[in-house]
Subunit: 210 residues, 2 copies
DNA sequence: AATAAATCCCCCCGCAAGGGTGATGCCCGG
DNA sequence: CCGGGCATCACCCTTGCGGGGGGATTTATT
């Protein structure tokens, strides 16, 4: 049977209706099978080695250990498993934490069934997948603020500061005197209302100036 | 007619066949219309204000000004226009530059027609969109290296250093003596084979240790 | 028992960092 | 035409941080 080579999927989701819905959906899709389904991360982790899933559908809002914390534990047991977050949470912090922990995809729960199946396929092909609203968050995180109070040169120097360079190194790299660098830094501090490199970096990151 | 309220799209793409293919595809889709099509960014920029597009389909590999450089110039004229990159380039550097410059989506040219239309719809709804291979690049950029030579504490301290904090601040935040911080930093330098904060930050970013 | 991690301690020296004040030339906009 | 932002350079000052050199202890983990 094709079941022998089907992609093995487990689901960790505390809402029974949703869990069974996903199970049915995947069970109906040729080439994919549900290896198991759990209502908590703790239960799933105990059986993970036996289940040998290729992919984990993971909810964020689990009782006990959260889905976020579960990601790294799952990956510690099965390093090559794909983790697809499926959740209502759209806060920036949760999304970015999920991605840094090792999730390969992030879908919001209003996603249509076809999108879920499509995402699973993309992940198994080595791709990534995000809902459009999540993609928007992620893409925005790359973009700088267009209304920066800093001049071009000041921004450039602040970027070097954020790389840990000292005044003399910055001066050498930009072919200017280190006294000039000092002046720029003083102006940057004044504009950002800070008095140290650490505060300048923090202010710059918060305001997406660099 | 619905044409009066249709989403206005312009295409900047030097390959005539592809340009006309997209034009046809969009022209056939209700609610969307091609306001204009250009084979270079320079030409498009001259007419941009008159075209008043809601969305720009932009190729990276244009003759003359590249698509990457065109993004910020387009956004300078029409700040709220959506820019969707449609290209063969998948190099990390180009993808990330496009996103930092302000693109809202990034599709590779092997994308099926339905994916292109779907992405346009998502962008106009305020979402983002990426091909799966691009999404994987982007998601990976958030993830840290699992084989870090640094201990947990060392990683933590290196992160603070990358925020520009000095030894005393780090000590206060972690409730340890500043001499301890110093020792950790010495060990970090030794493990990374560097001799300064700047080099440590560079090495850490390159190796995705932080 | 042995190794790594995390903690703390002392020495040294140089110069980087932050603050103050001021000057020059350039170009833009009112 | 003049003010102001920008970029450049200059000199003065004080503090103490940064990096390098030693070594020691405790805990956890293997």
């Amino acid at each position: 049977m094709q079941d022998q080579t089907a992609v093995r999927i487990i689901i960790i989701e505390d809402d029974r209706t949703i869990r069974e819905g996903y199970s049915f959906l995947i069970g109906e899709t040729p080439g994919y099978k549900i290896a198991n389904a759990y209502s908590s991360a703790e239960q799933a982790l105990k059986k993970l080695a036996a289940d040998q899933p290729d992919l984990v559908l993971l909810d964020v809002g689990l009782p006990g250990m959260t889905g976020i914390d579960a990601i790294s534990k799952i990956k510690a047991i099965l390093p090559h498993v794909q983790v697809l977050m499926l959740t209502v949470h759209e806060s920036e912090e949760i999304v970015f934490r999920a991605l840094t922990e090792g999730a390969s995809g992030y879908l919001t729960k209003n996603s249509p069934a076809t999108k879920i199946i499509e995402s699973i396929k993309e992940l198994m092909k080595g791709g990534g997948s995000m809902s459009a609203n999540i993609a928007r968050l992620v893409i925005r995180s790359f973009q700088k603020n267009v209304n920066s109070p800093l001049s071009r040169r000041e921004t450039q120097i602040l970027e070097e500061i954020a790389r840990g360079k000292n005044r003399r190194h910055i001066a050498d790299e930009l072919f200017i005197d280190h006294e000039t660098v000092k002046s720029h830094i003083k102006n940057i501090y004044s504009k950002l209302n800070v008095h140290s490199r650490a505060d300048a970096i923090r202010a710059a990151r918060e305001g997406k100036l660099i």
